[in-house]
Symmetry: C2
DNA sequence: TTGTATGCGTTATCAG
DNA sequence: CTGATAACGCATACAA
């Protein structure tokens, strides 16, 4: 298949390349009659329109925005939080006739930086907190929007963001459990990095040290965790990286936590899906969440309502929508946005 | 922010642009020592790597593949069939380090053709059957893969495809109902086009005429429908475009179908989600699917099992996987693939 | 209203 | 191993 260009059409018609280009892009720059003739001739020659790649290089814009995930791409379609965020994000993009490309950017994967470098996009929204990847995008000069922050010092990543106050939210949840009288508590963390030890138990003090190991990428859900640790200060707290963020990971964590003699009275997962998986594990053992052990999650997914799971609701769809708006409108003023969250107490957490 | 180019680096270092380019792309083309120096200098100057757009224009490849949807993009994340397909598709793409961009290509939308024309991709997989859009991609010289065919004459669209034999599948389902003794049957079709009348009732004869109206785009699920009509020949058949493919559309169709005096004894939806929505409507009226009215769906989603819904299973994940493989390997031989399907009879369909 | 010259940033080719 | 030259296909700025 041979490639037809505007040059070819121009040559055949005896007009300049510019006239052909204008026929496609700026109807007002040439007579309607000539335009018609050019278009007709182009069609006859099998020319469907300006080449996307050339046009992009020339104009410097792609009209496409990337969404960066830390996990496998298939995760993007299966995790309820991710799906809700994407739906809101894509609605805005669609309204602006922009398209979206999905980028998998595993933490600790050098090739992932290549993917960011080679992405032909006008901006990147980070559904993950992969620092080096987002930073690379920024260095390329692309607008970036974080949807989660996870730096231990609370220092702001460069670039825009739309988040909730995860530290405060974590602390609220912690205080709720403290008030209920819980004194021995497990926290299920996400383990997002290949090198991360899974189902190993850490004390808050050791944990702070561990976090340093992942300082480059940011430790997933660090702010939530640190908020909880702060709220639970003085109590018997254990932190367990449970695996990737999934129902299955929560279920597996159940085997570690539930079958021991010194079982905690309360467990908090850093996400609802993990918490739901943990509840599955409970029921499998004939334990009733709320009755025999208290459980809380994080995110506020719709399915937590019927499960009776205590959780912190965050405005997922707003996050997605605003992230898109920030990328599309570089002039918008407020570019570091903290959305409200809400502690929702349900029957899965009860007094000891 | 000023843009650093390979030229700048070359000039500063007193080497040629080619040497800089080679330092990034072809380590074997220059001494390790020089390469190191170039890379170091580039980094110091804030150059992160070759510009994606320029590289794409030059090489003619983007390493990105498009998935075209007929519905709103948010649909892609909410419809179970679409999600399963995407998960399989993206797994393959990810393995090849390719990324995917999502394209919304509503039928009858002229701008949609612009979206296809401007997409910087190496190929297009059509999760929809939007003819003009896919045809445009093909004219651009892009590899295309259909995942559904919907031409009335059964003529093959140009381009590759990976499908099931929808006509045969529809007919099998029809014969199943016929054997059960059903004589008055409603078929719930998807209405994918904005201009399409919804909840209007058609007889098979009129329907064939209606289909012509949408001949350009192809009528959604036409083959399934025609297979059913064929299998139900001579019986009292009514076809109802019920709206976009969703649970809600099925539910709404329930109001039309269930509250009438001459209620059909069986209803078939062109997708499981519509069938499930229709079942919701039944229960709302105290009608028991299978007991008071027979219902069947199409696709074989996992959730049909617990719902006890009779359906035709199609290998969703295989479709997604193979579509990706076809796009990635243009030399692959068998490019028109028909996968097996399977009629699954459950308790939602019973003898009259 | 139409045309000309030029460059977007990179990489293939081929010569040194 | 290194470098000069020429595209890739289009659109901006400006001239006619």
């Amino acid at each position: 298949m041979v490639r037809i260009t505007q040059q070819d059409i121009a040559k055949v018609m005896g007009v300049s390349v510019m006239t052909v280009s204008n026929a496609f892009n700026r109807p007002d720059q040439l007579s309607a009659e000539l335009r018609e003739r050019v278009l007709a001739r182009a069609a006859k020659m099998g020319y469907t329109g300006p080449d996307a790649l050339a046009r992009q290089l020339r104009s410097g814009r792609t009209n496409t925005f990337a969404v960066a995930f830390e996990e496998k791409l298939s995760y993007a379609f299966s995790d309820p939080f991710s799906v809700a965020w994407l739906a809101a994000f894509s609605e805005v993009m669609e309204k602006h006739r922009a398209s979206i490309t999905l980028l998998s950017v595993p933490a600790g994967d050098a090739d992932a930086l290549g993917a960011i470098q080679n992405a032909a996009v006008d901006g990147v929204a980070g559904l993950c907190g992969n620092q080096p990847a987002m930073e690379r995008a920024r260095q390329r000069g692309l607008p970036t929007v974080y949807c989660t922050l996870n730096r231990r010092d609370g220092s702001h990543e460069p670039g825009d963001y739309v988040v909730i106050d995860d530290h405060a939210a974590g602390k609220e949840l912690a205080l709720h459990l403290r008030r209920l009288g819980h004194r021995r508590i497990f926290l299920l963390a996400e383990a997002a990095y290949p090198t991360q030890a899974i189902l190993k138990e850490y004390r808050p003090a050791e944990f702070e040290t561990l976090v340093d190991t992942y300082a480059d990428y940011g430790f997933a859900d660090y702010l939530r965790l640190s908020g909880m640790v702060e709220g639970l200060a003085g109590l018997d707290v254990t932190i367990v990286p449970a695996g990737t963020n999934s129902r299955r990971a929560g279920h597996v964590a159940g085997t570690l936590v539930l079958d021991r003699s010194d079982r905690p009275t309360a467990v908090v997962a850093m996400s609802d899906v993990m918490a739901l998986g943990f509840m599955d594990a409970c029921r499998q053992r004939g334990l009733e969440p709320g009755e025999d052990i208290s459980i809380a999650g994080f995110d506020g997914l719709p399915e937590t309502a019927e499960a009776g799971l205590t959780t912190v609701r965050q405005p997922v769809r707003d996050k997605g929508r605003i992230a898109a708006e920030l990328l599309l409108d570089p002039t918008r003023t407020a570019r570091r946005i903290i959305l409200p969250h809400e502690l929702i107490v349900r029957r899965s957490t009860r007094p000891v």
